[in-house]
């Protein structure tokens, strides 16, 4: 079952902040975040593991609430280059081979 992402789309000005949320109905082993620009392949941003270990990306941070099976991606002081579609991917506990993606959040940063 796909994780649920919100919002579906967000438009902001350069320098503003944004938060993208991801929630799952399953107990999770990890949460991944990817960004896809138009016509390109998704690119890794962040991985959050059960137990708190985080591997990150410069100027972008994320949190993982294991009890609620929720993750949030925080983009601060957004830049034009942040525009794209953001996907969260979840790996359920006991099935770490699969990565199931949400439907995506389209982020547009305007000058």
């Amino acid at each position: 079952q796909q994780p649920v992402q919100s919002p579906q789309a967000v438009i902001l000005r350069e320098g503003e902040d944004a938060v993208i949320n991801c929630s799952s109905s399953k107990a999770l082993y990890s949460v991944h975040w990817y960004r896809q620009k138009h016509g390109e392949a998704p690119v890794f941003l962040m991985i959050l593991l059960k137990g708190g270990e985080q591997k990150g990306h410069d100027k972008i941070s994320a949190s993982f609430n294991e009890k609620k099976q929720q993750s949030s991606l925080y983009l601060t002081a957004s830049q034009l280059s942040y525009s794209g579609t953001y996907f969260c991917g979840t790996q359920p506990s006991g099935s770490a081979r699969q990565l199931t993606f949400g439907s995506g959040t389209q982020l547009t940063v305007l000058p």
């Binding site: 796909q2 991944h32 392949a41 890794f44 593991l49 990565l99 993606f101 995506g104």
Partner: protein, 112 residues
């Protein structure tokens, strides 16, 4: 740098044709995956493989099959293409464990 390549960027086929989509990765990854991407639905997992000759169904395997004869190569097969299989197909690979997924550039398949 990890590289995942797909045999075609664009492909046009007729209904009923057998279609092969090829994916090759050059980093000795154990896991390989096929996703399809449709507007509003995100990336949906079709099949994945964690070893040569091993395969597992993902969320939407109907109408597809796969083959993995060599570690670096993972093929997606549409035995009899249908118009509802018109989509963007993305291949990915990763190491075992909490690893990064690396994606190929995608193949946009149109079935007429």
């Amino acid at each position: 740098d990890v590289k995942v390549t797909q045999s075609s960027r664009y492909l046009v086929k007729r209904t009923g044709e057998k279609v092969f989509l090829e994916c090759v990765q050059d980093m000795d990854h154990e896991n390989m995956f096929w996703y399809r991407q449709d507007p509003g639905l995100g990336l949906r997992l079709i099949y994945f493989s964690y070893d040569v000759k091993m395969k597992e169904k993902g969320d939407i395997p109907e109408g597809y099959s796969v083959s993995r004869e060599k570690k670096e190569r993972f093929s997606l097969i549409l035995e009899s293409a249908s118009t509802n299989q018109t989509s963007m197909y993305l291949c990915a690979s990763s190491l075992l464990g909490p690893a990064i997924w690396f994606f190929g550039p995608g193949t946009r398949l149109t079935v007429l």
